[in-house]
């Protein structure tokens, strides 16, 4: 049996005196996907930030590829793709320049060709040489997805990947997530409700007041059983 890609033990995070995450237990194997669902302020984004190594837990442990997220070295960071609320893109660079820059940081072979290929995949090839500051929120979101995935990471952490997207944009992101899972990547995404992604089975975790309140396989959600109220589109 393969080692888990993500594993948390009694993970807790407190800001000042306010607990945001409490005793979170999560386990994700290679090639598996999980949706973390919950309302605003439930702790979803904080959980992803801890898994990405951006924040340290206040208590407990989070392991990614077997490595404590407090000490994620370059070779682990290379294997993690993060899509957050902020796009991490430079408004005064063009879409192609932004992707080329990140491709170079991740040592992607032929950054220019890779950038062009990913722009095509997210439907932005026609605006490759337009500065990002001229992009709509949805276009920026698609470019941010390409930025997170261009190094083909083994773990994708996606914070509300469908926010601000129209139907076509959502389909593009769905296709990218499906493609990532098919090549063996693990995916953890947050959302307010569990979306249906054709051909991909996800586990669903409901997080409430910082705790994993319920968990279910997506099939159970679909059948109308557990987490029914969280079923999305």
């Amino acid at each position: 049996m393969s080692a888990p890609v993500v594993e948390t033990h009694r993970l807790a995070k407190t800001y000042g005196l306010a607990p945001v995450l409490r005793e979170v237990e999560l386990r994700l194997l290679a090639g598996a996907g999980a949706f973390i669902v919950g309302g605003n302020g439930a702790g979803k984004s904080t959980l992803l930030r801890i898994l990405a190594g951006l924040e340290a837990p206040s208590d407990g442990r989070a392991l990614v590829f077997g490595q404590d997220t407090r000490r994620l070295g370059a070779r682990y960071r290379r294997r993690i793709g993060v899509m957050a609320h902020q796009s991490f893109l430079y408004p005064n660079l063009t879409a192609r320049e932004n992707l080329e820059f990140y491709a170079e940081l991740y040592s992607v072979a032929d950054p220019r060709a890779s950038a062009i290929q990913w722009l095509d995949r997210v439907g932005l090839a026609g605006v490759a040489d337009t500065r990002v500051r001229a992009f709509s929120r949805g276009m920026e979101q698609r470019l941010s997805a390409a930025r997170a995935m261009l190094a083909e990471p083994g773990l994708l952490l996606l914070d509300e990947p469908f926010a601000s997207l129209d139907h076509d944009g959502a389909e593009i992101i769905e296709a990218l997530i499906r493609g990532a899972v098919e090549r063996g990547a693990s995916v953890i995404a947050t959302a307010h409700a569990v979306p249906e992604i054709a051909g991909v089975e996800f586990a669903a975790y409901e997080i409430s007041r910082g705790r994993i309140a319920q968990q279910a396989h997506q099939e159970e959600v679909r059948r109308g059983g557990r987490l029914r109220t969280l079923l999305g589109r």
Binding site: A52, G53, L54, A74, F101, E104, L105, S107
Partner: protein
Amino acid sequence: MAGDSARCWADRTLSGFAAVLRKDLRLELRSGESTLALLALSMLVLVVLVFALDAAHVRSVEVAAGALWVAMVFAGMLGANRALLAERDNGAIRGLLLSPLDPGTLYAAKLAAALIFMLIAEVGAVILMVIFFNLDFDASTARLAPILVLGAIGFSALATLLSAITGRTRSGDMLLPILAVPIFVPALIAGVKASAAALGGAPLASMGDWLRIMIAFDVLFVVAGYLLFEQVVGEN
């Protein structure tokens, strides 16, 4: 095997350094904000000091050296602030911290960008100083070059490190000069003294003590910045 691994690490580090520096220069070439602001500020400071100090009544090489360094410090603060400002847009600094790029390499690239902007501003400031203080473009002006380069390295190293801290606070723009200038004082005194001696025609060898202070300051803050940048720029 170990040699291959070290070469691979060096290649990645150099590639990451070059990518960040190239990106910063591209952003600057596109907007010209930092360099133009640095040049304008240098000119403003020199004009004010020429009239305020009445250069005719004091030894002009000493006044000129002082005025040049005041302009340099003000311009340097602006340049260092701007070098990290672009990384705050859209949370780009997080994108860099999440990437495999070593934070020390990120610091080195940011320092290199701030240094390039500051050196460009210094060239402009020296030309203005020579004009405003009725000096000549001769060997003594050329002798300023190593002194100003040492000063620019030290100030860029210090200000890049401090701006990573102050940029995270609401009153960061105000906080940077309050922190940077007192720390820079030893190098500032050495720089002014060495510059005045250079403009007065003294050979570089006679400024050995002042130059050694500046070199020590540069080494201290470049190393400190490289080692501490991860702690000051990270979010943990």
